[in-house]
Symmetry: C2
Subunit: 362 residues, 2 copies
């Protein structure tokens, strides 16, 4: 296999309030040690190390998150951190990161990875990633992973793809994408699953920098002024110029701005134990469980208790006669939440914002 110039772009700017009270405004999910022993951002960078050297890794985030990320990765050169002029969703961020690569080498393959996803089978992931790099390099395609769905989830976007037209590249089958779908309602999600040709949108993308520029030119005319301005700003090196250029890009996701509009998108199965760790209850499937299905960080004593997820490291939690609870002890704040209601944790944060005396808990 040819030695490729591969660059990682890690989206490190997630905000998220769904892991309150452990996650705070100043410490979003990618900085939490919830999935492994280290913060998710650190695990994301380490995971790709066998394929992509540290110096070819770029972390893109706003100024505050970048400063946190630098503390976490003190040996990474300064050039690896790219500060977004402002948080404007993924399209502007990925245009900026890709433009920087494009100016250096349009043939380089960009691998876009969210900083806050969990991948359980790293060997399988690296194998698929290597193949996806080949596909992006050889096929002049935008490439993505579709997660084989395990339920009709309404919290993910879906990618429809043609499973009859798969082609093997470097040992992995790639399918032509037929369409990107926004987060569906429950009825539609059930239809997607029944159809058998829909996968969850993983938010991981690969492209040659030059292919990205080309697809953008062909399929996303509303991105063109921003792209041109960003490239010009990078060439001249002015921060103010870059900020203005950045603002020319609509604040939308790259899925919406480019992926769902472009032709020639290829999808490979993301069959490597992926989880976006979207809320506390997902950790029930990640942490080891006791015989009654309780998953915990910290010692737990369960008497007639089952299905609970407990974060209380270094302390004892006794569960008595309770079912399917999320319990999170975070020092100054404690969350007790029905597992089926854990999407409401963000409502807690909204309620805190409305109550002056509670603002310090955000």
């Amino acid at each position: 296999m040819k030695r490729r110039d591969v660059r990682a772009v890690i989206l490190a700017g997630g905000r998220g309030t769904r892991f309150w009270p452990l996650g705070r405004a100043a410490k979003p999910k990618q900085f939490l040690r919830i999935a492994g022993p280290d913060p998710m951002l650190l695990e994301t960078v380490r995971r790709i190390r066998p394929l992509i050297p540290a110096r070819k890794t770029t972390l893109i985030a706003d100024a505050r998150q970048t400063s946190q990320a630098r503390k976490l990765l003190p040996r990474l050169p300064k050039e690896c951190f790219l500060v977004e002029p402002e948080a404007r969703n993924t399209a502007p961020a990925l245009m900026l990161a890709t433009a920087r690569v494009w100016l250096e080498n349009p043939e380089a393959v960009v691998v876009v990875l969210p900083a806050d996803h969990l991948i359980c089978d790293v060997a399988a992931f690296l194998k698929r990633l290597e193949a996806a790099v080949e596909a992006a390099a050889r096929e002049s395609a935008l490439v993505t992973f579709g997660i084989p769905p395990t339920s009709p989830a309404t919290g993910y976007g879906y990618i429809r793809h043609n499973r009859g037209a798969g082609r093997k590249i470097a040992g992995t089958v790639f399918y032509p994408a037929l369409g990107f779908k926004e987060k569906p309602d429950a009825v539609r999600a059930a239809e997607y699953i029944a159809a058998g040709d829909h996968a969850w949108n993983s938010g991981m993308f690969l492209w040659r920098a030059g292919v990205f520029a080309q697809k953008l030119e062909l399929f996303a005319p509303e991105l063109r002024p921003g792209w041109t301005a960003i490239v010009a700003a990078l060439r001249s090196g002015g921060a103010t110029k870059l900020k203005s250029a950045f603002r020319l890009v609509p604040a939308v996701s790259i899925d919406y701005a480019l992926m769902e509009k472009a032709d020639g998108v290829l999808v490979a199965d993301g069959d490597f134990g992926w989880s976006d760790v979207g809320a506390w209850s997902t950790l029930a499937g990640v942490w080891p469980r006791d015989g009654a299905g309780n998953a915990s960080r910290g010692e737990t004593l369960a008497l007639d208790a089952s299905g609970c997820v407990v974060w209380n490291p270094g302390r004892l939690t006794a569960l008595v006669g309770v079912r399917d609870l999320i319990v999170v002890e975070a020092g100054d704040a404690l969350l007790i939440c029905d597992a089926g209601s854990d999407q409401k944790v963000k409502d807690v944060v909204e309620a805190l914002k409305r109550t002056p005396k509670f603002k310090r808990y955000i």
Copy 2:
């Protein structure tokens, strides 16, 4: 009303594991600030102050609990603390405390009060107590309060009394007791409530010291050797002698050993907002509640949550989509318990005892 020599004997030796993890082996219920702003023992001593001066108050408990009680009541003279040679239930403790009073003044009225009960209407309590002192002094009777039952509880003993034969003494009606009943099963408890002449046994008793000695002589022959030996030991002042004398008394409750055997027992209604605060869920009826029936110490944010009791002072607790939970954050240990299962909290302590690594949480 005649000026009486009234002595309080406060049973300060309760052990109890039902308030774990706040209550520990080294800090039982009477030392917890769960019912009012101060530990229950302190509130018990303060409550009777208008009727009984501090120097006429005796706290009886084992050596460790006595040392804790002395820290809590540093201005109380040393003589007010009576150390039980060992914990042997209430009969030996009350014989010792009463014998000490008897040697000083057989006419003195002894008021026996548990240190870990809550009384909401202190004015009503003091009025009843004053009348009960009169009844004990004038009638040569053993006197007690029967709590008007609000449910067919199986956790209390009951006192049957003749409500047709009440006599007013000092403004309060006293009824002749017809029998003390052990904690009943649910069927029997329902019968007691339906009958209308059963009250909960409050564990509060009054007697003249000389009357106690007399009733013991007449109705409790198995207590006589212990009484004689305790009196002799107190006269001679020897600690070893007292210890031996104490051991001559069967380790049973005074209810069982004397009250249910003696004649002439009088019962007044304990209609003063009494609670024995028997478990965490009883605090739902003691602490202020929010509109959804959540009672808490510490700030609480409840989203679609009701009927919870939360102990987490100085911190924020968020409750989301949960019902009828007990939540207790006690620093090194956290309890999450179904409110209907709070009698199982003592099983948690038993389980901790069986697990070496958890012993430090007992």
